[in-house]
Amino acid sequence: MNEFALLVAATLAAGTPLAIAGIGLLVNERAGVLNLGAEGMMLVAAVAGFATGYATGSEVAALAAGALAGAVIAAIYGWLVIWLNTNQYATGLAVSLFGSGFSAFVGLGLVGKKLEETEVAGVPLLRDLPVLGVALFRQHPVVYLAMALTGGVAFFLHRTRSGLVLRAIGESPVSAHALGYPVRRIRLAAVVVGGTLCGVAGAYLSVVYTPLWVEGMVAGRGWIALALTTFATWRPTRLLLGAYLFGGVTMLQLDLQASGVQVAPQFMSMLPYLATVVVLVLISRNPLWIRLNMPASLGKTFFPGS
């Protein structure tokens, strides 16, 4: 029982970076902008966060540095695709390539360094509950932040006027422009929010989750987060569940490896990636279903015209 509780706890921890990055990308995409640079932003944020944590010893400062790094790169990306009308696919790829090169370069001096471990306090009182305490209430604050964020974004998108404007822009930037909404500025804001959250997720990986800096340590999580937005058909709560599902797959394969199952570790490590493919196949089988839920202008360049 306790083992199961630990697996649940580990699942939540592993799903958290996917959830935070995924929610950020979801906001991004709801405004009609696709950012394939997620992986790169997370990598740069991971190295920025780790370096800051190493220098200051403060976890909060480290996460903030990651958020800032993600926001800056996202702002550059946003400027390119929103104002210079560059192709969103190619530019996103460029950000990913840049991020992996830049983080490897900056992080060279940090390889092998360790951060001081901080005690995780968990939720007072509830942490001492049997089973549930271990499973749910002894987590790092960022894990709870991810949950709160999901609720907050869901409320924002579907219950506020600003959220309606954001969705409207993702649906038809031309109409929104005709009504006088500053389409490009709002899109940029959404992109920066996406980058900030990808940054928090990246810093969480290197500062809290591992906590180590290793080249390429994001290991495809940025791409998986992108897949999750489709999987969730752009709904925040579904995205959170999807993130935990993937956290679970990751943990399960580690668990199986540790318990000495007679399968080569490489094949076990393939599981999260194969799971992503399987999930994409299952969710995309019905193109109508995707089209019904996808922000109609996603990935398309909008030029406010004359």
Partner: protein, 513 residues
């Protein structure tokens, strides 16, 4: 003397190489219905965008109630009391009517209040509208009502309507005019953008005519004739089309009881559509767009090969399941409504665009004979007077009218046995339109069977020998064009034709009671 509601002085706007507005002057009085008349490309849209704050003029002055103003954004325009109904609606398909209206309003009104506001405005002007419906479930006419109610809720002092009747049946146009007159009686000025002479004469008090970006005249349209307005608009009498009696031959294309479910959520289901098209005749399909024309065209062209084998026949051969290329080989050619992106690839040259529908310059293994291709393209450019940089020019460098001439030329040059055309002259200037219509009629006289789908009733009356009307995914029986009247076709456009397959004569199908 009354202070004009809106006065434009010397408004000038240049784009890269063209002067869209050249020292335009305009005066609109309170409560006046003022029309801006001009053909495509005359600069009407640019002028309207300047008034609505979407564009800034390079020079000139705007006076609002006698005071000079700067209108820097649509919000500022709305704050002054200017509202606009767009030609291509500025609506969001997946949102509800109320949300759409809400997004078009400034200020912090709760959504609930907006719903109540929609109900009362709709009742006041007799415009039925359900605030909770999602926009994609609405017909085109209903969507326009959303736009109008949105504009009315702002209590405008000036309402701009850009080509509002292109999506309406003649009866619905009458209803719209009633609404507009009622609104003008309250003192609201109306700026009515159109190129339809009859409507302007029926509705407007004043008219400013634009040609090539300049004002060519202002007049009281009720005192003018179509011919005199037309002279102001295009500088000449509209070209007359010589339409000889048709001599129909054997049946070329037959659609029999075609029923098809829509492919996407914004489409229309087809119900039991039947038609017959003979060699040497032009058959027209009238109707407000969005009533299934696109689906019918796709089923005939082969872009949608889901029809039953025998539901579409070409010279007696069932082709319902054949693909586009196979049908084209049998002599069925199609000219789609969208030129850029469907009829031609924007980024490819005119020569390469030939290959979309023509294979004469292909050699073994698909090798392209570039000289043959260039020659073939040049021939079409010359014969159809396409203004372009030659066969190597990319499609998107052409103006809409010239690209349409190229595409029409490409298909006519193939000497098809059946030619299906959608909106042959949509957005094309008068000269090019006349040329295209004449070429299509010449093709008919040479024995080709033509099916023309158009929203422009005038065009259909001018070109066709028989007419069908499409409404709600159904097709009316045909009527000889010489026997048809605008009133009759208008009635049919609401779905009220005598032998409707399921609805008895005179039974309404809801939207237009």
């Amino acid at each position: 003397m009354t202070v004009p509601r809106l006065q434009l002085e010397q408004i000038t706007k240049r784009f890269a190489s063209v002067v869209a507005n050249d020292a335009v002057a305009l005066t609109v009085l309170p409560g006046e219905i003022h029309s801006i008349l001009g053909e495509n490309g005359a600069g009407k849209s640019t002028l309207v965008k300047i008034i609505y704050g979407a564009l800034r003029p390079d020079a000139g002055r705007i006076l609002w109630n006698g005071q000079p103003v700067q209108i820097r954004s649509p919000q500022e325009a709305r704050a002054l009391g200017i509202a606009m109904v767009f030609q291509h609606f500025s609506l969001f398909e997946t949102l509800t009517v109320a949300e759409n209206v809400w997004l078009g309003m400034s200020g912090k009104i709760p959504l609930r209040q907006v719903v109540a506001g929609i109900r009362s405005k709709a009742a006041e002007y007799g415009l039925e509208l359900e605030p909770e419906r999602e926009v994609h479930t609405l017909s085109v006419g209903e969507r326009q009502r959303v736009e109008i109610v949105r504009a009315l809720l702002a209590d405008p002092r000036l309402l701009i309507l850009d080509e509002p009747t292109s999506v309406l049946t003649p009866q619905a146009v009458e209803k719209l005019f009633v609404t507009l007159r009622q609104l003008a009686a309250t003192g609201c000025s109306i700026l009515y953008i159109s190129h339809k002479l009859d409507e302007i004469r029926a509705l407007c008090h004043q008219c400013t005519v634009l040609r090539g970006g300049r004002v060519t005249g202002t007049c009281d349209p009720t005192l003018e004739s179509n011919a005199s307005l037309s002279r102001l608009m295009i500088g000449a009498e509209p070209p007359r089309l010589v339409h000889r009696q048709a001599t129909p031959g054997q049946v070329a294309l037959r659609v029999r009881d075609l029923t098809l479910e829509k492919l996407d959520r914004f489409g229309t289901d087809l119900h039991g559509v039947s038609l017959e098209l003979r060699e040497g005749e032009v058959v027209g399909v009238a109707g407000v767009s969005g009533n299934g024309q696109q689906q019918l065209l796709a089923a005939i062209s082969g872009e949608d090969p889901r029809a039953e084998e025998g539901a579409v026949e070409l010279f007696g051969q069932p082709i319902g399941r054949l693909g586009v290329a196979a049908r084209r080989k049998l002599g069925l050619h199609f000219i789609p409504e969208e030129r850029l992106g469907r009829g031609a690839v924007p980024t490819l040259s005119l020569a390469h665009n030939m290959l979309l529908t023509r294979d004469e310059s292909l050699r073994a293994l698909g090798w392209i004979d570039r000289r043959a291709l260039k020659y073939q393209t040049a021939k079409i450019i010359e014969r159809f007077k396409v203004k372009s940089g030659g066969p190597a020019a990319v499609a998107r460098s052409l103006s809409g009218g010239n690209l349409q001439k190229y595409i029409v030329g490409r298909e006519i040059d193939a000497v098809p046995r059946v030619l299906v055309v959608a909106q042959p002259t949509w957005g094309v200037d008068v000269g090019a339109a006349a040329q295209i219509r004449a070429e299509l009629l010449a093709l008919r006289d040479a024995g080709t069977a033509l099916l023309v789908v158009s929203e422009e009733l005038e065009e259909l009356f001018e070109m066709t020998d028989r007419l069908h009307v499409m409404a709600r995914g159904r097709l009316s029986p045909s009527i000889g064009t010489s026997a048809a009247t605008v009133e009759l076709i208008g009635e049919w456009m609401s779905g009220l034709w005598p032998t409707g397959p399921e609805d008895g004569p005179g039974v309404s199908i809801g939207e237009f009671p």
